[in-house]
Structures are given as C-alpha cells and as structure tokens.
C-alpha cells in the first residue's frame, strides 16, 4: 500500500506502524459515572468493519507523525490521509 502523507507525499506503508481504530483518539473521561464501562469498550471492543475504516498509523521510518487514514479494509483502497492532530481538532470532545 502507498500512503499519501499530507506533508511528505506518497510513502510505502512499510515505513509505518499500525496502531488500530481511530476511536482510540476518543479517550473517555476517567471520572464519569459510566467510566468503567466506557474504558472497557474503549480499550477492548472494536467495530472491526469490513469496509471503510478510520485508523491510526505512525510514520516511524519517517517524520514520526501520527496519521488518521480512511481505508477500505476489503480492497485496501485509501481514501483520505490526515494528520491525527488535525483529525482530533475536528472530532470534538469525547462524551462520558
């Protein structure tokens, strides 16, 4: 796979480390009423979709930036690559 890095242009996927579902950016509040249940869901449960998937990649062999990539898990087609910082800004606050 070729990942079109927003700052560096097209890079081979082997330069990157994969972390997982971009929902990991949406860390629950630690002191809410449902925190225990929310952290369980946050840490262990995944939608694991066959289709469009937003996911976190780390450019370890490059500029060490975190990216959020929108990719089809069936075809491996990549539709969008964003810096995780930008993505997080647009994501809004997590709910408890």
């Amino acid at each position: 796979m070729i990942i079109d890095h927003p700052l560096l242009g097209p890079r081979d996927a082997s330069e990157f480390i994969y972390l997982g579902d971009a929902s990991l950016l949406n860390r629950p509040n630690w002191d809410g009423k449902k925190s225990e249940d929310n952290f369980y869901k946050y840490l262990y449960l995944r939608e694991n979709v066959a289709g469009m998937h937003k996911e976190l990649w780390f450019h370890q062999q490059g500029d060490r930036s975190w990216l959020v990539i929108s990719r089809n898990t069936v075809t491996h087609e990549i539709f969008k690559v964003e810096l995780a910082t930008e993505f997080k800004k647009n994501m809004g606050k997590s709910n408890d």
Partner: protein, 416 residues
Amino acid sequence: MYYNVLKILKEGLNDNKGWKKTWQNHEIKKKYDVIIIGGGGHGLATAFYLAKEFKIKNIAVLEKNWIGGGNVGRNTTIIRSNYLLNENEAFYEFSLKLWETLENQINYNAMVSQRGVLNVFHSDAQRDSFVRRGNSMIINGADAELFDVDKIKSIYPFLDYDNARFPIKGGLFQKRGGSVRHDAVAWGYAHAADELGVDIIQNCEVTGFKIKSGTCVGVETNKGDILANKIGCAVAGSSSVLMSKANMNLPLESHVLQAFVSESLKPLIPGVITFGAGHFYISQSDKGGLVFGGDIDGYNSYAQRGGMDMLEDVCEGGLALMPTIGKARLLRMWGGIMDMSMDGSPIIDKTHIKGLYLNAGWCYGGFKATPASGWCFAHLLAKGDSHSLSENFQLDRFKNGYMIDEKGQGAQPNLH
C-alpha cells in the same frame, strides 16, 4: 459410505465408478435443534462432536462459500501443544490428543503426521524462557524435550548455527507435534458429520439473526429464514461482521496472515522448525513443497491477500535460519483472515442473547485447535455450560480482568 482397504481395492478394479460424494447436498429444513454458522474446520468439528459425543440430532452447518475454502485451507497445517499458560496448554494438549485419534474417529485419512516441532533459541535468556515453557507443557501432560546444538545438528545439519547475529544455541522440541493435511480435515469432518445426519449447506450466507425478546430463534439467510433452538457462530475472521448483525462489538480485529509454498523439492526438512529470533516457521509437505509463514501484515484487513513487504520479511527470517532454501522458488502464496483477539487467546462462550453462542478469537493458531475447539463448543451448545478446558475462554474476561495473555502484549491485537 465407509472407507476401508477392501473398498479401495474393489473400486480400483471397478474404474473408481462406485464412489459416492464425500458428503451429500440436503434440502434445508425449516427448523433445526442446532445451527452452526461457518463450515470451516471448527464449525464442522463442532457439528461432528455434537452428533457423535453429545447425541444431538437435527444439526445444520451453514457455509457462506464452499467447504474447505476458508482458513481451514489457508494455514500452514501445523499441530502442536507448546503453550506456557495453563489455560491454553491444557486445552491445546487435549486438542493434540484428539488429533492423534482423529482419523479413526472420522474414518478419513487426514495424513496426521507427528513429525516433531522444534523451536530453536538463540540466547541464554531465550533458553530459560523455553525451559519454563517446556516445564509448563510437561506439567499439563504434554511432551517436551530440550535439545542441545549437537542434537539439532544431527537432524537439521543445514541450519545456520554460527550466524553472527542469531547463533543457534539449542531448541525446545515437541515430538508429538507435526502437521496434518488441512483440506482433508475439512473434508473428513464434513464426511463424518454427514454420516451422522448433519445437514451441510454450502453457499448459504447468514444475513441476520431472528431475535425475539432477547432470545435468538433463528437466522435469516440468502436461502430464506431457518429456525433453531441454538445457534453457534464459528466464522473466524468474519466474526465481527456476523455478530454486528446482532448489534454486538467483539474484542477482535481481523488481520490478514499470509502463507507460502515453494516448488516441490526432494525431502529436506523432516519436521517443523520455527525461528526464535524472528517470526518464521517451516515444514515440508508430502508433495515436497516447503510450506512456510511468518507474521500477520499488521493492519485490519478482510482481503484474503497481503503485501509484498511481509513476504520479504518472512523470507529474510527463513534465510537467516536456513540459507540453503535461498534458491528454492516460490510457487504460491495466499492470505487468510485471522480473528485477532485482544489477549491473543480464543473465545468459546455464550453471548448475552439467549440461544446465541460464539466461537472466535483464534488469532493465527486456529488450525491446531480444530478438534478441541469443536469438542468444547459442542459441549457448550449441548449442555449450556462451558467445558472445563474452555471455561476460561470467556467473552467477558476483558471486562473482568481475567485475560489470558500468552505473550504479555496487552490489548494490541496485531502484536499477539
């Protein structure tokens, strides 16, 4: 149809015209006692043991594609029971014992070959951890031997013992491990289940569950609705997609694992060898091809194919261990979709929906588990409570903190 030597002789004289199909095609009934979703190794084994050991009649196995087309035909065919944690080791040792008698049980030649599995180690620290694992195996009734370099040299003289970076210092050997013809496992279980009256229905995709006030009473398929008292799901890499139809999120990620076969060579590797310094395992099939594999590609995937970078990584591991295979040409490669769990261990459990049961999370170790997985899942489906060997493989262990994390990697599925 019962297979035996006399039958083979008779058919040999008869131009092989008298063979019947290995299993029959049946009309779908309106209702079953138990439906197994997924006609892979685990699903077929479950159906077989349900019928044979637990005397359940009226079982159907629903397969989306064809029998033998999924992960049961997409692995590197290795069987072994060399785990560290008791929860895993006891289970996999039970599985290995079932492999040993499998062919008589299912009246089918699955080419079970206990040719020995050798894990080589490369440092003192790794030796200590392998010794610990070997002791755990012995405690749980399995066999394990520690081999020194001379002993390994007598079996595998062609390994790169004096590799500057990863010299081979010894190995952990399990004599009873080995390999099995994987397609024959699928066909054999299908044959044996069919003989016991199980309906095996191919090209039947489950598109939804019929759930009435918290109880699952049947499934919706592309061939119409089918009712059942109990429904067991054993669909490996497709588990999350299937269970999302019951509004469940699972502690799983689906990843692609590749396997590779070389051209046919003369007998070279008598057993199974794994590299201790990278992820690489290899054996030689009876047809002569070197069958080998390594790590998963590492990102969520439902495509049954992987990237070339992992091919390179696997081949680098292979050449570091045995440079002699460097000139062998690659014949085939393929990918299977692994249901990678959050602690690297499987799930055999009921769900919060009554009548709906789950068998998943086998990561890339599902093939060797096939008989025990089928047996324990059948036990759960028939009796409603877990078999003692699978009672730790609970779906809610992640909530309760009872993880079975063999590698100690935490909730990061692509590292297990």
